[in-house]
Amino acid sequence: MVRSVTSFGRSGLSDWLVQRVSAVIILAWFMCIGGTLMGGVDYTQWKTIFDGTSMRVFTLLAILSLAAHAWIGMWAVGTDYLTERLMGPRGNVLRLAYQIGCSLVIFVYVIWGIQILWG
């Protein structure tokens, strides 16, 4: 069995499941927002929607889903192309740098999202 310490859930099945479930949550969130926007909203209505705790929690869930989804996807891309097999030992260094970069960006987006929601 192949070990990988940097994958999201450490098991292929859990990563796969998280990828599927998070996709559904993200889709549901965008449909919800899309539906609201189609109905036509002004600033005060928009603000009341996001003042409600349920919408904030839903949005946070969507942000966290997006973060997990992005990490699993980016991790798969990195372990396909930035590898020792394809580029020699340099691949390992590049991949680690890429993974740190990705996790930083995702982390910043999550914090920023929380700030917007509760700020």
Partner: protein, 234 residues
């Protein structure tokens, strides 16, 4: 005259691979690609390729014809030639030993990983382990694989991770033993597959299904394995 372009590489004499252009007189017949190769070899004996049964049974002459993997012996020219041109290359993604001959070690190593033999720890019956016709039917579409590697060598996930992703061919065989009611090692087999690479590198693009010369469907088998893993874990 058919215009054939063949990948040539002899690591002992060539600095790098090159394409050799050859004209072949097919006499207007719809020959198999292997016939064309034999005609070329009768002119130039240095051309290297594998073949044995010449009837789609042994799986030794998997090559890339005009960009598509297949068995040279059962691929008629009418099926692959476009604009009177035939480009022959070794199976992609595997190291070239010489010309159209590739090193299959990585492919076999993955096959070995799935333990492709029946495991049963119950006492052996006097004559044989029986199976109902319905249970036997579950192995149809799985046991027919001839290990030609056309599928795995067409799979991008296998190109990038041939050491960690088992690949369509190996996974089809993994499922062949998971689906066998006489096998008692199902749980151990599944435990070996539950990492992020062995099964889950498959992204369902179905290149494997498109090229399998035996008409098998590795993607479907991979889906079954995933479902077995899911029901085992939840």
């Amino acid at each position: 005259m058919l215009q054939v372009s063949i990948y040539r590489y002899n690591p002992e004499t060539d600095a790098e691979p090159y394409m050799q252009d050859v004209q072949v007189d097919t006499g207007g017949k719809d020959l198999m690609v292997l016939d064309v190769l034999e005609m070329i070899k009768s002119q130039d004996t240095t051309v290297g390729y594998r073949r044995s049964c010449r009837e789609g049974v042994c799986g030794s002459d998997g090559i890339n014809m005009n960009g598509v993997n297949g068995l040279a012996c059962i691929t008629p020219l009418s099926e692959t030639v476009k604009n009177n041109k035939l480009v022959l290359r070794p199976l992609p993604g595997l190291p070239v030993v010489r010309d159209l001959v590739v090193d299959m070690s990585m492919f076999y190593a993955q096959y070995e990983k799935v333990q492709p033999y029946l495991q049963n720890d119950t006492p052996a019956p006097a004559i044989e382990r029986l199976q109902s016709p319905e249970d036997r039917e579950k192995l149809d579409g799985l046991y027919e694989c001839i290990l030609c590697a056309c599928c795995s060598a067409a799979c991008p996930s296998f190109w990038w991770n041939p050491d960690r992703f088992i690949g369509p061919s190996g996974l089809l065989q993994a499922y062949r033993f998971l689906a066998d009611t006489r096998d008692t090692a199902t749980d151990e087999r599944l435990a070996q597959l539950d990492d992020p690479f062995s099964v889950f590198r498959c992204h369902g693009i179905q290149n494997c299904v498109n090229v399998c010369p035996k008409g098998l469907n590795p993607t479907r088998a991979i889906g079954h394995i995933r479902n077995m893993l899911l029901s085992r874990a939840t």
